[in-house]
């Protein structure tokens, strides 16, 4: 079943042509929805996302550089998810694709969850802002980076809320390349079998991974159908539409009886035209001048 939350949540057939490098690009599209003025909350989230993207660019300009492409693709997902959970101690966002730590730190700082500015300390000695996040960072509960573990952490968290009679969510944010890990499917099987309906799995479907494109290395056809076959509800959404994402995370899961998979179509390097959709944006180290230039054009 596909959950249609609002008009910004689209089916894959409408969305995939918008995504560079994805099979189906260039095929016919449905008529666009009439433009609507974004609500004030969405405007706030967009501004946060822009702030976070600038911080990510700054972290790419540190001596270590950072996973730029995946941090920019997941920024809007994190901004929306963290906005949902920031004031809800029963809900937890787990960035399972921990290599996007720069994106997480930036989004947490933009949201106000992380009080210390990560930019001056990213990757630096004697600071906690490592290239993959751990629980010594303010606001981070689980260690991630070895791919696959964030999904079962979030599952356990969601189950703990259910056992406690609370309504919090466990939100796991995974990369699409990460779905090549067997542990995530092991976890999805358990989640469906236990009917942990307050688990939300978000796939940052940017189409890229370390050595190239997911479609070239290990394609994932019929991904929504796979999740549905596992016993998930599924929703496919523009992963850069913070309003649509926020609406999904706001959906009351109390009456649901299956976990939810959100397939969020994104663009690697989103917002930074020189690198958008390019596999080479996976890990980037730049100098201060380029960072300044990119921060002027990022959107």
């Amino acid at each position: 079943m596909t959950t249609a939350v609002d008009r910004s949540v689209r089916t894959a057939s409408l969305l995939t042509p918008l995504i560079a490098g994805r099979p189906g690009a260039g095929t016919a599209t449905a008529p666009p929805a009439p433009p609507q003025a974004p609500d004030p909350r969405t405007l706030v989230l967009r501004e946060r996302a822009l702030t976070a993207r600038r911080a990510v660019i700054d972290m790419a300009a540190t001596p270590t550089g950072c996973h730029l492409g995946g941090s920019l693709s997941v920024t809007d997902i994190l901004i929306a998810a963290l906005d949902r959970t920031a004031d809800d101690p029963d809900s937890e966002v787990v960035l399972s694709k921990g290599h996007a730590a720069a994106g997480l730190y930036a989004a947490m700082h933009a949201t106000g969850i992380l009080t210390e500015d990560p930019v001056p300390h990213y990757g630096a000695a004697s600071h906690h802002f490592t290239g993959h996040p751990g629980p010594s960072v303010e606001g981070v509960r689980f260690p991630t980076g070895s791919l696959g573990h964030g999904a079962p952490y979030a599952l356990g968290w969601a189950l703990s809320r259910r056992l406690s009679g609370r309504r919090g969510l466990g939100i796991a944010v995974l990369g699409d390349g990460e779905l090549q890990e067997g542990l995530v499917w092991e976890t999805f099987q358990v989640a469906a079998a236990q009917r942990v309906s307050n688990l939300v799995v978000v796939v940052d479907r940017n189409g890229g991974q370390n050595d190239g494109m997911v479609a070239d290395i290990s394609p994932q056809p019929e991904l929504a159908a796979r999740f549905e076959a596992f016993g998930f509800e599924t929703a496919e959404v523009d992963g850069h539409d913070v309003g649509a994402l926020r609406a999904l995370f706001d959906t009351d899961r109390a009456e649901a009886d299956r976990p939810l998979a959100v397939l969020a179509d994104t663009v690697k390097g989103k917002g930074l035209r020189p690198v958008e959709g390019k596999a080479a944006s996976h890990y980037v180290t730049i100098d201060a001048a380029r960072a300044a230039a990119w921060k002027r054009i990022v959107r």
Binding site: P143, S146, G148, A154, L155, G156, W157, L163, E186, V190
Partner: protein
């Protein structure tokens, strides 16, 4: 009659859960039908299926949510298949998870190499912050499970299959760092150091033949406990023979040798070969060279058996 380690674990945890609602029990399809915890507390029992890595990671989420999860599956699957989950969840995160691992060593007998685990101490002891225990008998198992439940700290508990030996007595609420078994023992002799069910069984067998040998039984085996044990051992003896159902690499003997500089530490262990044949637990141990004769060989030339090296059989297991 006493219970085997895994049966004692299940019974003790079921009892503790009566008064501690934080206790959860997770199994990866090897808990058996009619698990007492499932019968008594069905809302807190989860058979997650054959999903060991996910089970340990899920337990981390449950622990962070305020619960005290106990997870159990056979030792090779817990420690080796889910090794990274244990490192991250029990070690790095320090989540209050207890992993109970039956079928350790070659207690699976004829089940074969895939179901044996002679490497668990090497792996788990290398993860800082995890209390490692190899209880001998029902009373020790119950005490270790209570400790894990009360402290809420990460624990790894190794046990066998169906062996149900009688625990050594001790004084106090939990097994001491060194449980001295020295009735009739003499000073200036070689001290037997026993680890786990088989190691303890073999040391007791040797002691029956030569009661003048001192015997130190160790239940807790993580580095902080071993450091305290080594200090206590060094106060009393200079020569030690450590007996354990584990490979030499990463075993307890090698750890004690580093902690006891200037002392003589010998190891009786399961060696480096693969247990590829069937047979009972005892027969597989024999094939690996882990038997009473091996203990006597390690004791020589300082200690010799009174009438040659006897071959006292291990306690007979049932076949359930």
């Amino acid at each position: 009659m006493t219970l085997a380690g895994r049966a004692a674990y299940r019974d003790e945890l079921t009892q503790i859960a009566e008064y501690d609602p934080r206790i959860l029990c997770l199994e990866a399809d090897l808990g058996g039908k009619g698990h007492p915890f499932a019968v008594k507390h069905p809302d807190r029992f989860f058979n997650v299926g054959i999903a060991e890595g996910a089970m340990v990671d899920m337990a981390a989420g449950l622990a962070e949510g305020g619960y005290r999860p106990f997870v159990s599956t056979f030792a090779p699957f817990a420690v080796l298949r889910a090794a990274e989950s244990m490192k991250l969840a029990l070690g790095y995160l320090g989540a209050g998870i207890t992993v109970v691992a039956p079928y350790a060593g070659v207690s699976g007998g004829w089940f074969g190499t895939t179901h044996h685990c002679l490497e668990d101490f090497a792996v788990v002891r290398a993860i800082p912050g995890v209390t490692v225990a190899a209880p001998y008998g029902e009373a020790e198992m119950r005490a270790v499970v209570r400790r894990a439940a009360v402290t809420g700290e990460p624990h790894y508990i190794r046990t066998g299959r169906n062996a149900a030996p009688l625990s050594l007595p001790w004084v106090g609420p939990e097994p001491p760092v060194v449980n001295w078994d020295v009735h009739g023992a003499e000073p200036d002799r070689t001290c037997l150091v026993s680890v786990g069910e088989v190691g303890t069984e073999l040391c007791l067998a040797v002691r029956r033949s030569l009661p003048t040998l001192p015997h130190a039984h160790l239940c807790y085996l993580d580095q902080p406990h071993l450091e305290r044990a080594a200090a206590e051992l060094a106060e009393h003896y200079d020569r030690f023979v450590v007996v354990e159902e584990h490979r030499q690499a990463g075993g307890i003997a090698s750890a004690l040798a580093l902690l006891l500089p200037g002392r003589e530490v010998s190891s009786v262990n399961a060696g480096e070969s693969w247990p590829v044949h069937g047979g009972s637990h005892e027969q597989v141990l024999d094939e690996l060279g882990l038997n009473e004769a091996a203990v006597w060989a390690a004791l020589a030339p300082h200690e010799v058996p009174p009438h040659g090296a006897p071959a006292t059989p291990l306690e007979q297991e049932d076949t359930e």
